[in-house]
Symmetry: C2
Subunit: 525 residues, 2 copies
């Protein structure tokens, strides 16, 4: 049954009862008119008898506490007290997880599917893993609504749900502007509401190096905007990873090289290539020097640290926008090119460097993600890596090309939303069709997902949330939901408006879509 139809029908018939359902749209959802009061005093989450995980499960214990506050915001805040809270009707959300534990990290193969059945007095949530249970708890939280007396209700509902893509990422850039840890944590909260599951941490770049390495402390001492106030300590990084984990979110760090490394050079002498002007060093520096073994030793030590600090099986190596000008100017690089038989093709030098770095991370048992430039210059050899497609133009042509080469693809190109646009350009992200290229089923399966990119040129803590939400929510639905069931922008509008109001209620500063208001918009502002 097409759930969109039921919602529209219900919306017409019950009108004032705000049954907008769930964003992103579940694969199958059926909502009924039957409505149940929820009394916060008689409401509880608990583990079902048949669940493989029980009380003491770190992920779900924390989720139960968190979602109680989200489901009953007035009650949790001690504001307003409704008569219906005294209705003697208990309600239980019974959670059952089939397999797996509670202490792992979500990762590539994570099963996020769940089933949710809401009926008189109870909701039954069944999931393969705790990560699926988290998705189901989020969906349940969105089903609860308040009437004009602030009483809480949920309607009879059946949901069967799983993500379309396994990789649903969001990139934050903490080099062009530093983002305080609490801002990253809040973004992780909003990601969980949107069922994003990968935080791609573009942690360092040309302008600053805020990651405090214990192997190379000078990188942030000298390369951060400020060595004390504008860094991420090891404890900060752990806090981010933990906050993400309990929300079912992976943290994939990016240490982009050989380009985009100006800030690295400040704390690591001889790492960058000295540029030459008329046969003498000009005093400026280019990409990492690919001709020195010390460069690879450094990268090996750095990635030894990074791959142990970040538990995810993926690590992003960057590899984009390498400017060959400086390499070309340097006589030692020229000599190295000759020795290696690269002729004048500097993309061979770039490939040589990237292959070496990928070998390093492979030795640490990590899968490398690289920007598409690496693929363009380095038709796949033995190495397996994931290609992130980011360039405009016919991005699906590139997706097809990568998939044909047998490599996994992440699609970022149509999901750049760092440049401001009117909120209504969320439609642009919503209309993306990531698999509409000619290819075999096998090739389409290589498209593991997509990623919203929030670059930092014009974005810092002052405007991050507003620029992300609700526009990134459009991408979230595209990456989670069935494309046919969510192809209508008109049907999405009231649902997205409602979801935006929910985000506001939860303290996320999501921009308005258009003229109007949220009933409870100003409790969170």
């Amino acid at each position: 049954m097409n759930c969109l139809h039921c919602i529209v029908v219900l919306f017409l018939s019950v009108k004032l009862q705000q049954v907008f359902g769930v964003w992103p749209m579940p694969q199958r959802i059926t909502q009924f008119n039957e409505q149940y009061f929820l009394n916060p005093l008689l409401f509880a989450y608990h583990y079902a008898e048949d669940s493989s995980v029980r009380s003491g499960c770190s992920v779900l214990d924390a989720a139960f506490r968190r979602y109680f506050r989200i489901v009953f915001p007035d009650f949790a805040d001690g504001r307003g007290f409704s008569n219906t809270w005294f209705e003697p009707k208990p309600f239980t959300v019974s959670v059952s997880v089939r397999s797996g534990g509670c202490d792992e990290y979500p990762d590539e193969g994570t099963d996020e599917s769940y089933k949710l059945s809401v009926s008189q007095g109870q909701a039954v949530l069944k999931a393969e893993s705790v990560w699926g249970a988290l998705r189901g708890l989020e969906s349940f939280s969105q089903l609860v609504y308040q009437d004009d007396n602030n009483s809480y209700f949920v309607n009879k509902t059946e949901i069967e749900d799983f993500p379309r893509f396994s990789f649903r990422g969001l990139l934050l850039d903490t080099s062009r502007h530093y983002l305080p840890v609490h801002v990253i944590l809040k973004t992780l909260d909003a990601m969980a509401y949107n069922k994003f599951n990968v935080f791609h941490w573009h942690i360092v770049d040309d302008p600053s190096f805020p990651y405090q390495s214990h192997t190379y402390p000078d990188l942030s001492n000298k390369g951060a905007f400020h060595p004390v106030t504008h860094i991420y300590t090891q404890s900060d990084v752990r806090k981010v990873i933990t906050h993400a984990r309990v929300r079912g979110i992976r943290v994939v760090p990016e240490f982009d090289s050989p380009g985009h490394t100006q800030s690295w050079g400040k704390g690591q002498p001889d790492l960058l290539t000295p540029c030459y002007k008329r046969a003498v060093p000009s005093g400026t520096f280019g990409p990492i020097n690919p001709t020195l073994s010390s460069s690879y030793q450094f990268m090996n030590s750095l990635f030894k640290e990074v791959t142990s600090v970040f538990p995810d099986s993926f690590v992003h190596l960057g590899g984009d926008e390498v400017d060959f000008k400086c390499w070309k100017s340097n006589p030692n690089v020229q000599a190295f090119m000759a020795k290696m038989g690269f002729g004048h093709d500097y993309s061979k030098l770039e490939s040589f460097y990237m292959e070496s770095i990928m070998n390093i991370t492979a030795a640490f048992n990590k899968t490398s993600i690289v920007w598409q430039d690496v693929f363009d210059h380095n038709k796949p050899s033995r190495a397996q890596y994931v290609v992130e497609v980011w360039k405009r133009g016919c991005y699906l042509c590139k997706v097809r090309q990568v998939a044909k080469a047998g490599l996994k693809v992440i699609l970022a190109a149509p999901f750049y939303l760092d440049l401001p646009g009117p909120t209504h350009n969320w439609v642009r992200y919503y209309k993306v069709r990531p698999l509409s290229f000619k290819g075999t089923e096998q090739q389409k399966k290589l498209v593991i997902g997509g990623e919203v990119c929030m670059w930092g040129e014009y974005v810092d803590a002052t405007n991050l949330s507003q620029r992300l939400w609700p526009r990134a929510s459009a991408a979230a639905e595209r990456l989670w939901s069935n494309e046919e069931q969510t192809s209508s922008v008109d049907k999405a509008i009231p649902r997205l408006q409602d979801f935006r109001c929910k985000m506001i209620r939860r303290g996320i500063q999501a921009e308005p879509l258009f003229i109007g208001h949220c009933r409870q918009e100003y409790s969170g502002l």
Copy 2:
């Protein structure tokens, strides 16, 4: 002496001492290397012997308290304590006002000029009026900076300053989205930092009527988004007017008619024109019905209230974008047109209506501002009114035309910043040259100022500050400062970056201009 030069020179020579001066640029400013410690414990504002106003002056007493906290944020917050605070060097800001009292409202003729002389142990601030003294206190606050140990300093400085334009407005639209009172108050704070002096309150429009009228309470009871949570009570309005007054800001309300009044119709039956379809009323409504005397009686009573609630001598009557379709469809309107001899020229009907409303406000001793549409349809008769130019295209042609007709002009067209753009499009606002049209000196004097317009389609409390600042700051400098002295964008960049950091420090969520950081950016976020 051209102050831009001194700043640049000083910046090169003292480099680390952050002497960026004042935004918007004063008419004359000279800054010297000589640097004075400021010890918050031995710092005081006081009234000079020769001042016409003394302790007990509501405007300045409050300003002294406010600016102490702004000048010494760490001290006021009880954070960090620097050794230099124990230096036994007192510093006094001595304020002298020549004339006028403390209990009036700023208005059209207000003299905002001031002179500020900062030297060893004291700053001497002399102003014509308390309003000028406020501008000087703001400038002084921007001269104070902190070194790496958080000690406070000010450099020897001489300023002689006055605004280029007397009307430097900012429009907020509280109809398309409701803005909570605290958000309006915060915007008034930021306006004062930018030396804006008119808050144009576009308080009602089609989508909602949040103004709670005591004469017509049904207007907000039925026309607001919510009759309790989304309204401005009389007490709210007084709070806004008072907050604005003590910052030298006028509050000019706009009750836009005859169009843009859909929300009015909900609480005031028979006010709007019934539209007809095939000779029967269609159930929809158009602009205010200009054919009924009841409409004018209503407007008279409403403006009787409005002109007594809002003390400013200006009131904005709107008059823009009147759609004639509904009037044309209505047989009673057609009959009225015939009776009045207007033929089929509905702009004559519009003029008839607007003249009547202007007569009403004139009877209450108010000067009317109207959008340019009124001027376009109603070449000036006896009535004197102020024309606000808002349409794109050759806006200076329109400014010239209005000035040639002998009417005062406010320029809004190039200062629309409700639609998002990258922050760097502040340059667009900065480059506006409001007087670069062919006209006599007398005609140019009729351009009383300009106005930043922040319409509400895509803006509410979640993103207002970010969208306003620092882009509106570019307009602020254009309207206050000497145009020749502030013609260079390159010279403005570091100053605007510094000023944006100051706003952040003061808790205003101003967007970043580009890659980088503020030293103290995250105390306010």
